[in-house]
Symmetry: C2
Subunit: 108 residues, 2 copies
């Protein structure tokens, strides 16, 4: 059975946010993002792909189009296809996210 232990994934780097892929098919990819305080995924957009960010640990500021909000553990945020979206760890602690994107642009 293909499964992963998400709490065991703690791959942080002082250089930049780390993305760790868990699963990938043509339909989606699922990653863990690890952000030290101050690190970010810059605001960007995907024409056709929806994204979900689920906060596993910590708090971050999420950006979707013209809105921004600081959200913590247990929140799940939807960034629809075409939206400008990103996340920054604006807290003093580590931020860990489970991220789901669909479809997978690498298979276009």
């Amino acid at each position: 059975m293909d499964f992963k232990d998400v709490p065991a994934i703690n791959q942080f780097s002082p250089d930049k946010m780390q993305k760790i892929n868990l699963f990938e098919t043509q339909n989606f990819f699922c990653d863990v993002y690890c952000l030290e305080p101050g690190q970010e995924q810059k605001i960007h957009a995907h024409k056709d792909e929806d994204k979900l960010y689920f906060v596993l640990d910590g708090r971050g500021t999420f950006f979707v189009d013209d809105e921004q909000q600081e959200l913590g553990e247990g929140k799940i945020i939807f960034a629809p296809a075409g939206s400008n979206h990103g996340v920054k760890n604006t807290s003093q602690a580590r931020l860990k996210l489970l991220v789901f994107m669909t479809p997978n642009p690498n298979f276009k």
Copy 2:
């Protein structure tokens, strides 16, 4: 911003497993499943859709093709398109799952 507070979703029923939809587009749906002890999602298959089960709380027995495994909080399980898959709450406590399915068969 479109977000949900996953820990606040606790919709259990003595009748059967509850599915609470969080987000849905043509690309995916994302649900919370709430299973009382003994409740299950029977083994079934989707020809074209991939599914991920992420264990939020509790423990359950997961079935993917000819394998079965009891897994708890923090595990994420991949049931690829075409696989026979399901889950049963074989524990004595409540089981809560975050579930992604892609693409969304309701938009075919």
